[in-house]
């Protein structure tokens, strides 16, 4: 995990670079003006949230298929931490989106299909936390939690990518759109790429730190139980 540790340390350079590029280098969007700069935070946050949910689902599959007890514990802990981080990043995407909605549409919340679908995704993962919370026995908690995360991972694309396209939405066309073209100026595109890399590295860094904290807590608990 040394390489992972080193890569995620890049946040200390990437994040200030993304901030400077977003506010001082990238041009404002034609119609939206200066408020469009929130794009460089809102889009990466939403991307990392979906990525974190996908990672938690994949780790849950590995947890259920693995026979090695130590590896299973690690997969379970990291799947849980990734789901929690996904929830945190989704919440931040909702907050930045609400601020943008207030500027563009006049209200923080409009029950737009994209807003409604993201609330459902949030509730799905909050329910996962409740589910894990009510099961005290670690093995059952791991198995039921992993099964839930796999099902949750399979419904996330439906709510994030399909629902907003089925219904009429005020939300601008996303980066992954029907025309398969990125409607951004080269400077804006470069800023968005740097920002996506910075937030992905931040997610990796937080996941790695959380994993180390839970592993330490477990070892301390074992020492006190001996």
């Amino acid at each position: 995990m040394k390489w992972f540790d080193r890569i995620t340390h890049s946040i200390h350079i990437l994040m200030p670079l993304a901030i400077i590029m977003a506010f001082l280098w990238a041009p404002p969007a034609d119609i939206l003006g200066e408020s469009s700069r929130i794009l460089y935070f809102h889009v990466p946050l939403a991307w990392v949230a979906v990525f974190a949910f996908a990672v938690s689902g994949v780790l849950s599959i590995l947890y259920l298929s693995s026979k090695n007890e130590t590896k299973r514990d690690t997969f379970d802990a990291y799947a849980h931490h990734s789901a929690v981080l996904g929830l945190l990043f989704t919440l931040m995407a909702v907050i930045t989106g609400s601020i943008w909605a207030r500027i563009s549409w006049g209200s923080f919340w409009n029950w737009d299909p994209r807003e409604t679908s993201i609330v459902i995704v949030l509730l799905i993962y909050l329910a996962y936390l409740s589910l894990r919370a009510v099961i005290p026995e670690p093995n059952r908690k791991g198995r039921i939690g992993a099964a839930y995360l796999i099902i949750a991972m399979s419904v996330v694309p439906f709510f994030v990518f399909l629902v907003p396209r089925i219904y009429e939405s005020l939300h601008p066309d996303t980066i992954i759109n029907a025309e398969r073209t990125v409607h951004l100026a080269p400077q804006m595109r470069a800023t968005l790429i740097v920002s996506v890399c910075a937030f992905t590295a931040l997610y990796g860094r937080l996941l790695f730190l959380q994993g180390r904290v839970s592993s330490l807590a477990q070892r301390i608990e074992e020492i006190y139980d001996e």
């Binding site: 400077i20 506010f23 404002p28 006049g106 919370a133 009510v134 005290p136 860094r205 330490l216």
Partner: protein, 91 residues
């Protein structure tokens, strides 16, 4: 030796506390959405300031916030490394 505070509660107490915390979070989140949907008032919002002066201020504030977060992450990283080393050496 006394146990650290986070080890004191039994699993059942911890699960009830976590469940309550999650329920409270959901209640707060849904209430804030209901509050936010009534916030529409286009005319009262001030016009957007497109000047570069405010962009420099926003950049400075964002960088300051990031420096605090970054320092905190480095501090946690070092603390964890020290604890891991102590546990390895069996202290």
């Amino acid at each position: 030796m006394n146990k650290p505070i986070f080890l004191l509660r039994n699993p059942y107490e911890r699960s009830i506390l976590r469940f309550l915390l999650t329920s409270i979070t959901v209640a707060v989140f849904m209430s804030s959405i209901l509050f936010a949907q009534d916030s529409a008032d286009r005319r009262s919002s001030p016009p957007a300031d497109d000047g570069y002066g405010s962009l420099y201020i926003v950049t400075a504030v964002a960088l300051a916030v990031w420096i605090v977060i970054s320092a905190y992450l480095i501090w946690i990283d070092r603390k964890l490394a020290r604890l891991e080393k102590e546990l390895r050496q069996g202290k």
